[in-house]
Amino acid sequence: MILEVKDVDYYYKNNENKLILQNINLQFDKEMVYAILGPSGSGKSTLLSLMAGLDVPTGGKILFCEKEIKKKYLNMYRRNNISLVFQNYNLIDYLTAEENVRLGGKKDSLQILNSVGISKEESKRLVLHLSGGQQQRVAIARALASDAEILLADEPTGNLDEDTEGEIIALLVKTAHELKKCVIVVTHSNILAQQADKIILLEKGKIKSS
């Protein structure tokens, strides 16, 4: 078990009465693809953010390799153990594809980009000059450039057409199974859910099934 969410509650500090997440208990392993599903407002993205170390739970704890993630080490946790992929790619617009990947880590960026289907010529372009699918590939390449064992993705196929969605899902599955990483994906996509090794269903901030 690489990541554990234990008795986690979360509410916004200005509205303590409204629980976003309530008594969440989950465990995640390497070489697995997890799909977190649920209607809008069910707390999927908040859960992902807590696992990504972007905030700390108001109750309970998150453990990485059985060690609790402390608030003061969140930066280090994010830098070394987590890589994130977003729906809107979140690439730095004034950098090229290769430079964006280099932000993620010290690995050979051109080789990683090549492995996700970005040619050498495309990797020299500013990311704004790439298509949506290519940008998401670059985002995944950036995530793979780090040595992080957990890849968290928030609606990674939300902005893509069906063909590209399939390619990105394949890439995520490959990342989990071949690169031996733990891939946790928040999604509405049934195709992605079907490819996942495990599905977690959230509803009104509670786990309905896992």
């Binding site: 905030d55 070394n80 977003f86 979140n90 430079e99 993620g104 950036r142």
Partner: protein, 464 residues
């Protein structure tokens, strides 16, 4: 990729934003340096004028004594019942030649000049310059005569207001000569050696006509005002003549009216000692005032001192407004980059590193702006300084005119002696203002960035 590399790439690839910020920084920096330069500008006065004026003393009639004497003069009762105090002759209100000669003979006095009062005279064989825009309700349709013993020591000539274009100035030995303005010469097609005639404006038809030979033509480096109401409304109608000429034209031959006498101290003499010697001279001091013209330079400096105050106010205004403008720009700049901040946070970059990148970008923009500004600052500094000084001078002139209309008295104006403003951009000013601008930028980046950086990463990412 470290934050410095990212900063360089951000600045070089977001060209429009970079150029806009650079222009703002350049403008603020140029204004700061220009204002400091203006404050430190060396307002040069005509060297010769100051040298001479600073070593001169002027003898004028004492106003109080004059009015006391006037009160003792029998009053003429007019048919309408009003009373009129009329001076018995010109001597009554003139500096006396015997007193002038006493002072002129003292050790340490190098030379002296006597200037008559200004007189209106009727131009007989030439026409004056007209000014239809002037209010001429009391115009006698005349020109102005001013006599000098040694014309080149006339105050307007020393100050450079009147400059010789052709011919020469009159000296002590000249009789029945004049120097006219180039405008008057042009209008009447007059040249050197021509003779022009005048008579008494109060009796244009019957009074005796006097001729004066033109020995010089002057030009006005600055517009001079009319010398007195009732004679002429244009400075170009001033005709400089030899000392004894005005009294003839006004029908007072042998009874001159000398308004002042200026004594020039020898270059190697002790000014203070000579001044004391003059004060001890055996003349009727009740009748006179001895004006220390060196004080004029002090008055001038005081007047120009207000420029320094103006610059001080402008400097602080520029600093405060510059900081506000920079702050608002950086707030906008950082607000546009919230998404970028979120991405860096999600990648595990520390907040310090993110602010460090923004600060580096701002400093790169600052350094580029400063480099470009260094070439612009001398031009802007000079323009601004000249503008402020000339405006100040204009203001002083207007104030003097107002005072002149209200008070009759000795003419001790000195505004004409400013000849140019020397503007030097000092390296220390550039360095100081560079540091000030840099501090403003650092403050602006930190104060604009810290509210964003303080937020939770999750909130920053949700704001994108």
């Amino acid at each position: 990729m470290n934050f410095f590399n990212r900063a360089v790439l951000s600045v070089s690839r977001r060209k429009i934003k970079t150029i806009l910020l650079m222009l703002i920084v350049m403008t603020i920096f140029c204004f700061e340096v220009a204002i400091v330069t203006c404050k430190n500008a060396n307002i040069k006065v005509q060297k010769g004028a100051v040298d001479i004026i600073e070593r001169s003393l002027r003898l004028e009639l004492n106003d109080t004594d004059y009015h006391q004497r006037l009160e003792k003069v029998p009053v003429t009762r007019l048919p309408n019942g009003a009373t009129l105090s009329q001076t018995p002759n010109n001597q009554f209100e003139s500096i006396l030649m015997e007193d002038i000669e006493v002072i002129a003979g003292l050790p340490g006095i190098d030379s002296y000049n006597i200037t008559t009062a200004t007189f209106a005279a009727n131009p007989v064989n030439f026409r004056r310059i007209e000014d239809e825009n002037a209010d001429q309700y009391s115009d006698q349709r005349g020109i102005t005569l001013r006599g000098n013993l040694d014309m080149q020591k006339d105050k307007d000539i020393i100050s450079g207001t009147l400059q010789l274009k052709e011919g020469r100035w009159a000296n002590i030995d000249d009789k029945n000569v004049c120097v006219i303005s180039e405008e008057l010469a042009q209008k009447n097609n007059l040249k050197i050696d021509d003779k022009i005639s005048f008579n008494d404006y109060r009796d244009k038809a019957g009074s005796k006509i006097y001729e004066a030979q033109i020995i010089g033509i002057y030009m006005n480096s600055k517009l001079i005002n009319q010398a007195m109401a009732g004679d002429t409304y244009r400075g170009e109608n001033l005709i400089l003549v030899d000392l004894r000429f005005p009294e003839k034209v006004t029908g007072c031959e042998g009874d001159p009216l000398y308004q002042n006498a200026t004594f020039f101290v020898e270059a190697n003499a002790d000014y203070g000692r000579v001044k004391n010697l003059i004060k001890e001279a055996n003349i009727n001091w009740k009748r006179y005032d001895l004006l220390d013209d060196s004080g004029n330079a002090e008055v001038l400096c005081e007047n120009l001192g207000s420029i320094s105050k103006i610059c001080q106010v402008m400097f602080w205004f520029c600093i405060v407004s510059g900081t506000v403008i920079l702050f608002l720009n950086f707030v906008f700049w950082i607000k546009q980059r919230i998404r970028e901040i979120g991405i860096f946070i999600s990648l595990g970059k520390s907040k310090l590193e993110i602010i460090g990148q923004f600060l580096t970008e701002a400093l790169i923009i600052f350094l580029t702006a400063i480099t470009v500004s260094i070439f612009l600052v001398p031009f802007i500094g000079k323009k601004m300084t000249n503008y402020i000084v000339l405006e100040q001078e204009k203001l002083e002139k207007e104030n003097n005119q107002i005072v002149e209309q209200q008070i009759e008295g000795p003419d001790i104006h000195n505004e004409e002696i400013i000849s140019e403003v020397e503007v030097t951009i000092e390296k220390s000013s550039i360095v100081k203002m560079g540091l000030v601008t840099m501090s403003m930028i650092v403050i602006a980046v930190f104060s604009a960035g810290s509210p964003v950086i303080k937020k939770s990463p999750m909130i920053i990412l949700s704001e994108r």
